[in-house]
Symmetry: C2
Subunit: 319 residues, 2 copies
Amino acid sequence: MATITDVAKQAGVSVATVSRVINNRGYLSANTKAKVQAAMDALHYQPNIAARNLHGKATHTVGVILPDIINPFYAELFQTVEQLLFAAHYQTVLCTTNGEPEKEKKYLRLMAANQVDGIISSTHNPDLADYQNPAVPTVAFDRVLSDQIPMVGSDNEAGGRLIGDYVAQHQPKCCLILAGSQEDLAPLSPRIAGMQAALAVTPSAVDQVAVPFDQPAPVRNQLIRQQLAEKDYDAILCTDDLTAITVFESYPADRWPLITGFDGSKFIRQYYPALTTVIQPLEDLCQLAIRLLRNNIDGGKEKAASYQLPVTLHVGQTK
Amino acid sequence: MATITDVAKQAGVSVATVSRVINNRGYLSANTKAKVQAAMDALHYQPNIAARNLHGKATHTVGVILPDIINPFYAELFQTVEQLLFAAHYQTVLCTTNGEPEKEKKYLRLMAANQVDGIISSTHNPDLADYQNPAVPTVAFDRVLSDQIPMVGSDNEAGGRLIGDYVAQHQPKCCLILAGSQEDLAPLSPRIAGMQAALAVTPSAVDQVAVPFDQPAPVRNQLIRQQLAEKDYDAILCTDDLTAITVFESYPADRWPLITGFDGSKFIRQYYPALTTVIQPLEDLCQLAIRLLRNNIDGGKEKAASYQLPVTLHVGQTK
DNA sequence: GACAATTCTGTAAACGATAACACGGTTTAT
DNA sequence: ATAAACCGTGTTATCGTTTACAGAATTGTC
């Protein structure tokens, strides 16, 4: 890799001059500007970001921490954030924790050591000490990490009520609320609370069960199948879309009960159009998260509020 | 952020000594070691990677470039690479190009400027000049980028034949080979060639059509629907799983024809167990890619070979 | 023609870490 | 007793870039 010194030599000027043309500051004659440009092109010169950063300049990099990237909701979250940040001339780096707090801690430190300008975190270990006094401006997604850190998320309870109301209209005799996902229960409990509240006004029997998320997929499938076999449920309310699809797939009968999900990623809407679910306003959530983060980066030390954005019901299309 | 100088001052030693305890090199008394450790803990010290890197040290970072992260195959590719690299004490950063060559170029430069140790690229712009003489050790995934760059991929043609043979067993009268995905045709054409070869020995009529991948999803759905309406196909061979699912979902009849995909990610196998597809050996592919990359990083300048790993047929389970 | 203002460009000190080198102080060997 | 080997620590140059400061060259003003 060519350095600024090589360019300076090649162009017959000092490094300071080269630096000036790179950053377009101070006075420059058209002549030297051209010479330096030519030298940079000839050598395929790229400024070393590390050296630049060492000088205290911003890295224009934002780190995103997610539990995984297989869940289409997280994949779309990342994609949306990345595109918005790219347009704002930031680069985005992704870290996935697979739910391991140790890995999360490691990556958090790594990001700080790499001098990211900010972090967007949507993980499930709010007790990490690193969040108590974040070294780097941070915004949390769908989870309160500490009172230092602003949070954006959906109105999960309202979403739960939307689903509960929808199910209630079908007057089920026996419902199951099925919690299960890579996540722990934190953003799930308001969803469940909303569902329960909406169903409370009906005469339905409502069971509730959680599938341990740390089991491999086949085990979870089997657990779900067992649970479904126990009773003759005519509505199954899942706390996320992937669980809902598992129920779809593992259901033995050919006449499905009413099955609902939660998250409503574009992927699910496109490839599982039959699923009734709650759509989280991903675009708005990301936009807000980025706005808060940039405020935070630019030193705006407003106090860390929580934002809950409204969700919408998506009724599955039957062909 | 505390610096090494702060730690040195706090511990009452020189920066060199602190550096020694960080890197565990040279002679150190237990006493100073403890003092320095205490100071580091007290200040929450994290070495600045930029400064370290400036010294010519490896960054232990690998960049991954993918077209997108929504396609479960890519998501799993990234996840697998990330986990393997994490175990090898590398960090992984992801860049997605959305098929925009301009963005790819930008990210490629950015990675070089960020001093990544290596790059794994699975994109679709082999004509980028940057690949001709890569600034950073690079390995290509499922695509030849240049003769400088080793490539790992699946035996796509064999996969096409597997699918073709499977379909041929069902003695279809009229088949459609449907190419469509975010990708251009490069890794798809051997798949198609394999399918054609296998079907050539049957009396089936075989149509072939490509759905433009740069259209938004609803448009593509509509195009697919139109194509399907034209004839009464009893087998549809798609060049990737997502296209196959789209066919599944958009098929008007309630008795599906034979539909096949390609890629066989775990996600698809779990959530679309009914789909017959070809499984790419993702774990092996990633392991090989990383091995080649690390060889390349460690200076091993073996010539850039291509590797095509064998694939397997996955027959969809009917409930 | 003298002096200031305006352009242009170079010198050198940072930034945070590493590591070669130097320099004392202990042991150990002879 | 003296040299050699071994420990423990500090001084300092270095990596690639930015930027304050200082000169030099040009232009403008009276």
